[in-house]
Symmetry: C2
Subunit: 418 residues, 2 copies
């Protein structure tokens, strides 16, 4: 039997460390040429497999692959494309297997969040039935930190560090200005369903900053919120508000949806920060500033967490090792041994247990008033932002991020309509 | 005659390196105890001088003062408080001199932008007339980079680096996602009157990113803008737009003012990024993301430019040396000797020539189509973002920024109504 090739794809929103996982996969596969032939990467994620747009990563130099470890974003392109259920669209799954068969691909490494864990699981099941068994390994990745079983998800630690540091720096700024100018600073962060990223903003409470966090998990109560802001500003002279994009009222309406309109009367998209800031202004009259971090937070490789980079790489590496051991339909996990000093090891979970389960913030991580984080939450978060891992910079002062050539191999099959 | 004391105050919007100037002032003054007694800092800037709230910096340890070099924000507090003209409010100027006299202050170091240069100039003139001559030295500081004579202003280089790196990282992210998701990313940056900060975003054009910059200096033409965005996205699959908060139409109306309203019908404050993003969505239908960097950009000491930190410190240091040499009513400047390799030296300018002059982007720095920067502009900008200067981090992964105790000395005068 010819040595099987591998397929690797990036899925969903990218992070500052997903390429570190890609680096771990490719570098490790290259160490086992007897077991794994070429690693093909999907151009724009799983779409590349469907359309047979396969990137030949063996064309890239050792140096370029190593540089992936320090480059944010998805080097091969990602996509927001969820395969439908097997019943609704068996055709897509069958096409994947056909493409894998045509290119002798026996290993499927899928780097993503909950949806891709589900796809990965189905590919494993169906390939067996179709007589071309593919070992499917899911490499966890999501800034939302909402995958089950694993203690944390690669991508999250770096966003958490970026938000904690940025909120600290901006709060120092506001404190300097509060006497005659800005008294309230609002920072909007990602996390539509789970408040993990917002929680990281709560860490600055340990650095003498009056901070208030609005979680998606806690129904927004405007009266209580305004009273808390008033109290913080009267006590400290200023305050910082970290608000999750997913903050919502008890009826499920997002704060961001509460009807800001442009000059044409169109509902304006996005932006819970200005909504919250204007609410404070109207109730209390305080001068405010607001920021929306958006992609800056998940792309900020310049301030990545060292533990996050190491884990992202390790999970890519171990995925290949698990595949070589013959494992299938699993996801390697981070298991925490201790928080202080931080110690972790790699474990694994069956994909059947991972697919379509979301891990929210546990109630014991949110303070009694709903506006902060507990000591237990801090103990959980600090290790994930531990250490720095700077990219190199060129002589002009810009980071040396790699852009790969991404040469594609010749197609063997007919076209496929997405 | 007793050795004269010094007064130091921070003015206007703070930066990630204004404390490096404070560090330069205090460390240098401490080396000349025969010439300069105590350095008093104004609590919340010039207001502290008016209300006689003077911080005794001699109470701080050598280590704490050294830590200022790596701490963003204004360690003694700043303020937005412009003294009126001498004719309109001679009382305030006279009070300043009274306070200086009461505390034997013969040196006035004022760290700020254009307004504070003006105040500094007037204090120097009036103190002479009032028979208690004070040597007034203005230490330049402004992220807006709009002071005349000096090649650049401390604070700007670090913001420029932050914006260039962040725009690059977010653009990598968008490129990864563009196939099925976000095609246009809009980043709003500071600079109400001058486009220097926006120009820094234009540097990413050198890193293969399709980028379009909207300057306050160029009247916004929606039709031309939309056509350019369309062309970039059709050619590259995506594009990044860096927009200055001060972008405006030919009639002087800010884009940010174009009437977005909240659910109560109140005009919503701030946010040109969502306005521009929605404009693209409505004309071209592209999926977008937008970010507003706001205070994050000017507080981001974690990504400061090394040349900026060194210059901010050097200007603080040389201000004290100039004072000791007997100079008065001047501002030390950065004079560029060469761009490549970057070489600079300290010069000085008379405050009479600095006060109330704004330096805009020269026309030759903006590309012919008005949406980008020229090679001359790049040659100007790169040296200013050259090198990194990281703060130390604690074992939990957060930067070690110093918070001073700021003990105040006893008051000798009666209260003063602001």
């Amino acid at each position: 039997m010819r040595t099987k090739n591998a397929f690797y794809a990036q899925s969903g929103g990218v992070t500052s460390v997903i390429n570190a996982s890609a680096c771990g996969v490719i570098e490790t596969a290259r160490k086992h040429p007897d077991k794994i032939g070429t690693v093909y990467a999907g151009l724009n994620g799983i779409i590349g497999a469907l359309t047979e747009d396969l990137i030949d990563t063996s064309a890239e130099s050792t140096e370029n692959i190593a540089a992936l470890r320090n480059t944010p974003s998805g080097a091969f392109g990602s996509c927001r494309f969820k395969l439908k259920s097997l019943e609704d669209n068996r055709r897509e799954y069958e096409r994947l297997i056909e493409v894998f068969k045509a290119h002798n691909i026996g290993y499927f490494f899928y780097n993503g969040g909950g949806d891709s864990a589900d796809t990965c699981y189905k590919v494993s099941q169906l390939s067996e039935k179709m007589g071309f068994p593919v070992q499917a390994i899911h490499i966890p990745k999501t800034v939302d930190n909402d995958l089950p079983i694993t203690d944390n998800c690669p991508g999250f630690g770096s966003v958490a560090k970026y938000i904690a540091v940025s909120a600290l720096e901006a709060s120092f700024d506001v404190r300097s200005m509060a006497k005659t100018s800005t008294k309230v600073f609002v920072l909007e962060v990602m996390g539509r369903h789970a408040g993990w990223i917002a929680a990281a903003g709560g860490l600055i409470g340990d650095y003498d900053i009056p901070v208030l966090v609005l979680f998606p998990e806690v129904n927004f109560n405007q009266e209580k919120f305004i009273a808390t802001v008033k109290n913080l500003v009267e006590t400290h002279g200023y305050c910082t508000i970290v608000v999750s994009e997913g903050a919502k009222y008890a009826d499920g309406t997002f704060l961001a949806e509460q009807g800001s309109r442009d000059s044409f009367g169109h509902a304006q998209l996005g932006g819970v920060a200005p909504v919250v800031a204007n609410m404070v202004k109207q109730s209390l009259g305080y001068k405010f500033h607001w920021a929306v971090a958006d992609y800056l937070q998940r792309a900020a490789r310049h301030l990545a967490s060292r533990s996050d980079v190491e884990q992202a790489y390790a999970l890519g590496k171990v995925s290949v090792e698990l595949a070589i051991e013959g494992k299938n339909s699993i996801m390697p996990t981070i298991n925490r041994i201790s928080s202080s000093p931080y110690q972790w090891e790699i474990g694994s979970a069956d994909l059947a247990d991972v697919a379509n389960v979301e891990k929210m913030m546990p109630a014991e991580f949110i303070s009694a008033d709903g506006f902060g984080i507990t000591e237990a939450c801090k103990e959980y978060l600090y290790p994930l932002i531990e250490g720095e891992s700077y990219p190199e910079y060129d002589e002009r002062g810009m980071p040396k991020y790699i852009v790969l050539d991404n040469p594609q191999i010749d197609k063997k099959l007919g076209a496929f309509e997405l």
